[in-house]
Subunit: 310 residues, 2 copies
């Protein structure tokens, strides 16, 4: 049993790689839901959708999120009615959001809704929201506090992030299956997702960090920072403004004590020694993941290494 902690695109890519490398039923992906929001009355869960579309093999290969070849007829009609959503809604996305919203309103919990949607798409791995309860990442900037999607999409990550909070997280309860999965896992993989707005909220859910600490699984993280930059998204800029070293070493310092090992890219080979001094085992490899086959290549290499050193 492998458990992956995932945010959006990076987490989805590695999850797909793992699902291709092992029996997909043996993979459980615990997904960040602190980016979730309501738009036009629809409940939108960007990271759950990205992981779901990617594991279903239907995600847009260029942008990494959304469905490949999706159209935006409904969005265009909404715009014709004078509303200009700041969030791209593909027609297949709308179907996802409409069904999810209807089922949530009918009393189903987010985990069950997610399971139903994923099953219908033929996904054999388990996708779990970190919690059935709403948590919202709030981004603190010099301009005040912003909801995550406002910061991320509407303001294009232009603001310096000087702090973060996860609204509602104290009252959230970890999805029960996440705790069970962490307890039973042989390996836990912290995906190359943003440590502050993807992995951070998952670990902040009450009970999650303790379950991870108490798990006898081997825990390995993959650095989302390569050569001082994030593969995607605002992780690097956020590390800088939050006072961290923008490097795989900075990632190692964030995850030291939490994981046993860190995977870094060849570009950061020189950091292997200082990361090792933090008590982490280090795998240096080609960690930028291309298409599905390359994701599988990366997952196989990482998992073989873990089996070697565990």
């Amino acid at each position: 049993m492998i458990v992956a902690l995932a945010g959006g695109v990076g987490g989805a890519k590695l999850s797909q790689g793992i699902a291709r490398a092992i029996d997909p039923h043996s993979l459980t992906v615990i997904v960040n839901t602190a980016d979730d929001f309501d738009l036009l009355g629809l409940r939108i869960c960007p990271d759950l959708d990205t992981v779901m579309y990617t594991l279903a093999g239907i995600s847009d290969p260029v942008q990494g999120w959304g469905v490949a070849g999706d159209t935006t007829r409904t969005l265009q009609a909404i715009a014709a009615f004078g509303e200009a959503p700041w969030f791209r809604l593909g027609d297949r996305d709308v179907a996802t959001h409409v069904l999810r919203t209807a089922r949530l309103r009918a009393g189903e919990d987010l985990g069950s809704v997610t399971h139903g949607l994923a099953q219908a798409l033929g996904i054999r791995s388990h996708i779990l929201p970190m919690s059935n309860y709403p948590v919202s990442t709030i981004v603190h900037t010099d301009d005040g506090s912003l909801e995550f999607q406002e910061y991320f999409v509407a303001r294009r990550q232009a603001d310096d992030v000087i702090g973060l909070s996860y609204l509602g997280v104290e009252d959230a309860i970890a999805h029960p299956a996440t705790i069970r999965a962490l307890r039973d896992a042989e390996t836990v993989v912290v995906c190359p997702s943003n440590p502050f707005v993807s992995v951070g909220p998952i670990l902040a859910v009450p009970g999650m960090k303790r379950a991870l600490d108490q798990s006898r699984a081997f825990k390995v993280a993959v650095s989302p920072i390569i050569g001082g930059n994030a593969v995607k998204g605002p992780a690097a800029k956020m590390m800088a403004t939050l006072g961290h070293d923008v490097s795989a070493l900075g990632i190692a310092r964030l995850y030291a004590g939490l994981v046993d090992a860190l995977v870094i890219d060849h570009a950061d080979a020189v950091l292997a020694a200082p990361i090792g001094e933090l008590g982490l085992r280090v795998l240096v490899t080609q960690s930028v993941m291309g298409g599905p086959a390359d994701r599988e290549r990366f997952a196989r290499e990482m998992l073989a290494w873990v089996d070697d050193i565990r």
Copy 2:
């Protein structure tokens, strides 16, 4: 000022004809909402949408409802998730339903939501729901009671209708603007809509019939029955199973006392005399309406005749 009472396709066609024949701002269409229902958490108002799309000039010219050239990407994706909606949802329809539902949930009333959508589509006539409050037509059959859309769409109007009720109508309040419009109207037109499930619910809303009775407007109905058949829909079959004469004369008997005049088709010219004996003035003309220009032709002819005899 002209007020039209309308259901779906027939009411929409005549409303469009009138809007083309006069200053469109002078037309108020009071629309049946007793067919409204919820599907996948979305509030769907079939008659309001048909009138709105038709007045906006974007309705499907063949089927009469829905938007011309609309695609069903979202519906297909919903089906791929294992749900098979029994109601056709075009992508532009979905936009309408999503916006309406979001605005209703945000506390806007149906009249205001309808006004906003219609304005955005450039419609200059006034489209009013008969009430801001929900009313549901229930169809009584030998198989028991059916919700209207179940009878109409899912079971394809196959059941014999032996009775009807308008659930919630006692507690509904007429949209205030409908009462004002009826009071101020010079002419009230009862469109060639189903007397039982389109016009019936409108008249059943408390206050509506009295406002119509007290209005000094000239009141004219257009027979939806031509040559013993309905132009569209189950009106003829319903008349038969409810014990009415399936003819323009049967329509005249239903509306006698309510309207001053009835427009019938050449095919029913022989019924002009018996209808006259009921105290109604009768215009015999070509009453099957084709495209927009023909709808205008019909409206002009009817309104000129009304001006002559009022």
